[in-house]
Amino acid sequence: MTKNKTNLDNLKFDAIHLDVLREIGNIGAANSATALSHLVKKRIEMQLPSVKVTDINEAVEEIGGPERVVVQLLLQIKGDIQGSLFFLLSVDDTKTLLGYLLDEPSIEIESLNFLESELMRSTLYEIGNILCGSYLTALADLTSLHIYPSLPAVCVDMLGATMTSGLLEEGYQMESVLIIETMLQEQAHSSVMKGNFLLVPDNDSIQPLFQALGVPLHG
C-alpha cells in the first residue's frame, strides 16, 4: 500500500470536522479531569476545547512563547493512529499538584531540576500516566480505534525547546500541525491551577481519525 501523504494546507475542514475534533478534546479532557479530581480530591473544571491548524511558531506563541518555562508530560500515541499528546503545566502549578499528591502543602522545589529527585520524577510520571492515559482511553472508546500510549516522558524547560523536540522525536516533518487544545483548571480559594492538553495527530493519521469518527474527509 502506498502511503498517502496528507498535506494539511490542502485539506478543507467543514464545521462538522471541527466539531468532532472538539468533541475529542472534550471527552478526552473530561475523562482526565475526573481522574485528576479523584487524585487530588479537588474539583477540576475544563474549558471548551479549541481546534487549530497552525504553524509551530504560532502554536508555541499562543501557549506563552518559546522561552516560557513549562513542565511537559508527553506520551506518544501508537496503533491505528499515531501522534503525540502533551500535558503542560507551569512550574508553580506543578509544585501545587505535587504538594497535593505528596500531601505536603508547601513543597519546596529549589531548582528546576525536578527530575533529579526520584520521588518527584516518579510522581510526575504517574501524573502523566493517569492524565494522558485517561485522555487516550476516552479517545479509543469514542473511535473504536486501537490506541496504545507509550511510557510518559517528562521534561522541564523552555516551551519552544520541549515542544519541537517532543514532536521531532517521532519524526515530525510537516509544515502545519493540527492541535486540539483543552484546558483543565482547579479553582481553589486563592489560586487557579491550569494545565493544557495538546493532542497532535500525525498528518497521516488525520484521515483515519475522521474515518473512525464517521465523518470522512474529502481533501
Binding site: 501523504k5 508555541v60 522561552e67 531540576n113 511510557l151 524547560d157 523552555m158 525547546a161 515542544m163 519541537t164
Partner: protein, 162 residues
Amino acid sequence: MDKHIVKVGISDMNVVQGPDLIRTAGLGSCVGVVLYDDILKVAGLAHIMLPDSRHVKESFNRAKYADTAIIDLIEMLVHLGVNKRHLCAKIAGGAQMFQFTSNNDFMKIGARNIIAVEQELKQHHIRLISKDVGGTNGRTIEFDPTTSRLMVRTVNKGVVEI
C-alpha cells in the same frame, strides 16, 4: 545607539548587521547556526529543525533543514557583500530534551542535527569557531556581530558566552 534585536523563529533564518543583534529562542533538539564576517560585522542565523531535506518530496520550508538552510544563509550573506571565504560559524543546540524515553533504537534527532550541520559547514569550508551543543537543556541564543560573541542562555545554568 539603540540596538535592535532581529528575532528568528523555529525553522526560520535572517541576517543582521552590527550594532544590531540577532536571536532565536527555545532551541531544543534544533540547532542554531550563526555564520558571520567579523570584519564587516555582518551575521546570519538559522534555526534548523532537521538534518536532511533530500527525502522530502513535497514543497518545504528550506530554513528547516541543515542542507538547505546553510546554503541559503550563505547566499543571503553573500548578497550583503560578504566574501564566503571570510565566513566563520558558531553553533548551539542539538540537545536531548527527553532523557527517559524508551525508544533508543535510532540516534536521537539532536545528535543527528549537530552532525549534519558540522558536515555542511565543512563542505562549504566554513570554520567552526565554537559550539555549545548536546546535553539536555533548551537554549536561547543571541549573537552580537560587533563583538562576534554568542550568548547562550539555559534555564538551569544561566548565561555563557562562546
